[in-house]
């Protein structure tokens, strides 16, 4: 029952994300969705996953979303209006196809399940940690390298427009040699 109630609110909130014209309202609905999703994880004994969901998505990523929306002032009057477009039908059909594909995979094994299947200590940080650093250590390390590449890449993209001493020195050298002017 707790699960059902929270899941209902999550569904409403995620509808709100696409239904609101105001970007801030949509973002807030997304915050609510992420937060309640974490509570859903709690009810399914996945505490660590739930709390990480709050830390990463609700606490960090959505704050950045709001930050950008406010900085660009997308909220309020400048609501995004969409024109009628035949592509909508096409997109709807594709979306429904994807939904039924996923639903067929998810719903079938879930039939007749009324209680939580996972054992009590399933989502505890101890077990998660020992699993990550024993059986799944390679995927874990690969994922962290991927993230590192992402960080370095984003710094590179952002750094290009900042006056840096190194760039200045390079430019000075170029100017002396008469290159690039």
């Amino acid at each position: 029952m707790a699960f059902g109630a929270i899941a209902g609110v999550v569904a409403l909130a995620s509808l709100g994300v696409v239904a609101f014209n105001n970007a801030i309202r949509s973002a807030l609905c997304l915050v609510l969705t992420f937060f309640l999703l974490a509570v859903l994880y709690f009810t399914l004994n996945a505490q660590f996953l739930g709390i990480i969901q709050i830390v990463v998505y609700t606490g960090a990523i959505m704050v950045l979303f709001l930050f950008v929306i406010m900085l660009l002032n997308l909220g309020g009057i400048n609501a995004v209006m969409q024109k009628r477009d035949p592509k909508i039908i096409f997109g709807g059909v594709l979306g429904f196809a994807l939904f039924s594909l996923v639903a067929a995979q998810v719903l079938l094994p879930l039939q007749g399940v009324t209680t939580v299947r996972a054992p009590d200590d399933f989502g505890k940080p101890e077990y998660l940690g020992s699993a990550l650093f024993s059986n799944y250590v390679w995927p874990f390390e690969l994922a962290s390298i991927l993230l590192l590449i992402g960080i370095v890449g984003s710094i590179l993209l952002a750094k290009r427009r900042i006056l840096s001493p190194a760039m200045d020195a390079l430019n000075a050298e170029d100017a002396e040699r008469g290159v690039g002017e």
């Binding site: 707790a2 960090a60 704050v63 709001l66 900042i162 690039g180």
Partner: protein
């Protein structure tokens, strides 16, 4: 109703009496609510004392008229002053009766819920904080505190404190005021930056204590200092080298997270009027105010639980000193320490609040670039080096075994020193490079090369 509770049993921490659950929640929230006026009084008095003023000393003055017939003769005409203790009540009455103005151009729905959103994390934050010995069998504190002794205690605290930004950002946005918006934006940038260093500082303590559960952390701190088994001093993390570093980092981040001076940029009054709560009046402003004080209180509690030995009065192992004897001074002190645990804990929280006020009276507000430099270039690398130091220490300890306590301690101190020196060299060099470019010239800024010219590829 029954069905709801059986379903809620999926939550590990609700697996007991729902009445007891309610009692624990009330025992957390009511003291915070009742102590907030006290803090406001204490802040005003202490601040005025530090600033060589008198402060509020008039409310709560008792005078008996010279011709009062009801009073005994020797009391007539006498006057008692209670240091203005009732001033917060007068403040509260004033806030209640002020006109509640809602500007026309605000985003109504968000404007109304923003203070409530700001209050929520301040109270929810303390849910994993143990006020008393939660692990001691037979102790009544095991039933009453903490609200939820979850195995993810510290992470929960990080998660909830990261939600604290929403109340401020949304309030700033909904007010439809440039200064409010700027305050909100500053706040979101500040909180995100300092959360990281705070998380890494806490992670090193999690490594050292081997648990994310807050009551476990306090238990670890009750052990002998530095693992030397015959030392009758408790192993409070602030006494260990890595713990001291982590404590300093955590303290700075905690002040930044609660938006207090010297990190009160979101409400810098000489730049932003009052920042994010410029457009709020009456009780909505009061709710923001209360949220800030409650957050300060709870953060002080977390600092006390993680670094200052939680609910132990003094860092002395009374139980080890008392040994097996069930009488005598040491045993009496041990009993006192356990029975009055919440009192010591709240006392440590008060110390935290006093520290906040002291800082506010002492330090000038940081500039925005200083704030960002401190967070990203000093605290985060320092916390990371500290983390590596703790890991090295734990590894050394696992190799050397329990006999090598001094050796492993030396390894830890050595690692920390090496890391600190390395850190100092790195920051020195990077700061020197940046200095010429990042300082703000107040008078006659020299013309610099424009940003577009740097992109040489596009320029040519």
């Amino acid at each position: 109703m029954e069905g709801l509770f059986t379903n809620l049993y999926a939550f590990e921490w609700t697996r007991d009496n729902p009445w007891l659950m309610g009692a624990r929640v009330l025992l957390l929230i009511l003291p915070i609510l009742m102590l907030v006026p006290g803090f406001i009084w204490w802040e005003r008095r202490l601040l005025s004392w530090m600033q060589d003023r008198i402060g509020p000393n008039r409310v709560a003055t008792l005078t008996i008229k010279k011709d009062a017939t009801w009073a005994p003769k020797f009391l007539r005409g006498s006057k008692w002053s209670f240091w203005g203790l009732l001033q917060p009540i007068a403040d509260g009455v004033k806030l209640f009766f002020k006109e509640d103005i809602t500007p026309i151009a605000v985003d109504k729905a968000i404007y109304f819920i923003a203070p409530a959103i700001a209050l929520f994390p301040a109270f929810a934050l303390g849910a994993t904080m143990p006020f008393g010995p939660a692990h001691k069998a037979g102790s009544m504190y095991a039933l009453l505190t903490p609200v939820a002794d979850v195995p993810i205690g510290v992470l929960y605290m990080m998660a909830i404190s990261s939600l604290g930004v929403y109340g401020i950002v949304l309030g700033g946005y909904a007010s439809n005021n440039k200064y409010s918006l700027l305050g909100g934006l500053r706040s979101s940038a500040q909180l995100i930056s300092y959360e990281l260093a705070m998380g890494v500082a806490l992670a090193s303590i999690v490594l050292a204590s081997g648990s994310l559960r807050m009551s476990d952390m306090v238990d670890v701190q009750q052990g002998p200092l530095w693992g030397i088994s015959n030392l009758p001093i408790q192993n409070w993390f602030i006494f260990t080298p890595f713990g001291f570093l982590a404590a300093v980092i955590f303290l700075i981040c905690m002040i930044a997270e609660t938006n207090r001076a010297p990190f009160d940029l979101p409400e810098a009054e000489n730049e932003l009027i009052a920042g994010y709560h410029t457009e709020y009046s009456s009780m909505k402003f009061a709710v923001y105010f209360m949220g800030e004080y409650a957050a300060m209180f709870v953060f002080s509690g977390i600092f006390a639980a993680v670094f200052l030995g939680g609910y132990n009065l003094l860092p002395i192992r009374w139980d080890a000193l008392a040994g097996t004897s069930s009488s005598g001074f040491f045993h009496a002190m041990d009993t006192l320490n356990v029975v009055l645990a919440p009192l010591w804990f709240v006392g440590k929280m008060m110390l935290g609040i006093t520290f906040y006020i002291w800082l506010r009276a002492t330090l000038p507000r940081l500039r925005y670039d200083q704030l960002m430099n401190l967070g990203w270039k000093s605290l985060l690398p320092l916390a990371t080096f500290n983390f590596i130091g703790v890991a090295a220490w734990l590894y050394a300890k696992s190799i050397l075994g329990p006999q090598g306590t001094w050796m492993s301690l030396a390894v830890m101190v050595g690692t920390l020193l090496v890391l600190l020196v390395g850190y100092g060299i790195i920051t020195k060099r990077s700061n020197d490079k940046d200095f010429a470019h990042r300082t703000v010239d107040m008078v006659d800024p020299t013309p610099r090369r424009s940003v577009e010219l740097v992109d040489t590829g596009a320029a040519s």
